[in-house]
């Protein structure tokens, strides 16, 4: 399955990209997280949350093929 991953704020600074497509055969968000951490080891000591289809999700959430985002701490206002 082809999934689009978006990176924001300080995380995009670390990955050096704001969006990429990954072809994955995995099923859960937690597996995407591991994949991303393997690709960008500098993310390991960063605080982040993950969203799928514009909603926060947990490691146990199933991948649906909709947009996934890796989000650093919020700082609005």
């Amino acid at each position: 399955m082809l999934v689009e991953i978006k990176y924001f704020g300080m995380l995009a600074e670390i990955t050096g990209c704001s969006s990429e497509q990954l072809n994955v055969s995995i099923k859960k968000i937690g597996e995407i997280k591991e994949l991303v951490l393997d690709k960008y080891p500098d993310l390991r000591n960063k605080d982040f949350r993950m969203a799928q289809n514009h909603e926060l999700v947990s490691d146990a959430t199933m991948i649906t093929g909709q947009e996934i985002a890796i989000l650093p701490p919020f700082a609005g206002g």
Partner: protein, 146 residues
């Protein structure tokens, strides 16, 4: 199918004349008795002797607009409001300039106090907005809401 939500983002700082226009527009709504406005202003914080001169805001816009929409719906359910408006800056906002404008109106004052605090706190916790604090020496650090 993709739902499109109202865009709360504005490029650059929110001007005092924009705020004034927004207030003036409510003078035809004569059931309103109380307005409450929150303005977030970029602080020139001093961090390790280096002064913040601006914040460069970015956002996961689709998700943020969806969150703002949900906050709006919840707020109208929880409080007796006539109107509610939220605007947030994107891009560079210098210290002293306004980056957030939340505006609630109701027939009664008790409602606006509770509603405004609810909106601001919920928005800070739930909207994926990111701020890069730019220092006078052009270095930067990423802001985290306290």
């Amino acid at each position: 199918m993709k739902t499109t939500y109202k865009n709360v983002f504005r490029d650059g700082p929110i001007s005092s004349s924009f705020i004034a226009q927004s207030i003036a527009k409510h003078q035809s709504k004569t059931r309103i008795g109380a307005h409450n406005i929150f303005l977030g202003q970029v602080r020139a914080d001093m961090i390790d002797g280096n002064e913040v001169v601006a914040i460069d805001y970015s956002a996961y816009e689709e998700m943020a607009n969806k969150k703002f929409h949900e906050i709006r719906e919840t707020t109208f359910k929880k409080f007796n409001l006539t109107c509610m408006h939220i605007y947030h800056s994107l891009g560079m906002v210098k210290s002293g300039e306004i980056c957030l404008f939340v505006f609630v109106s109701s027939p009664r004052r008790k409602e606006v106090f509770k509603a405004l605090e609810y909106v601001v706190e919920t928005m800070k916790a739930e909207a994926p907005v990111f701020g890069k604090e730019i220092f006078e020496d052009q270095s930067h650090q990423w802001k985290i809401n306290s």
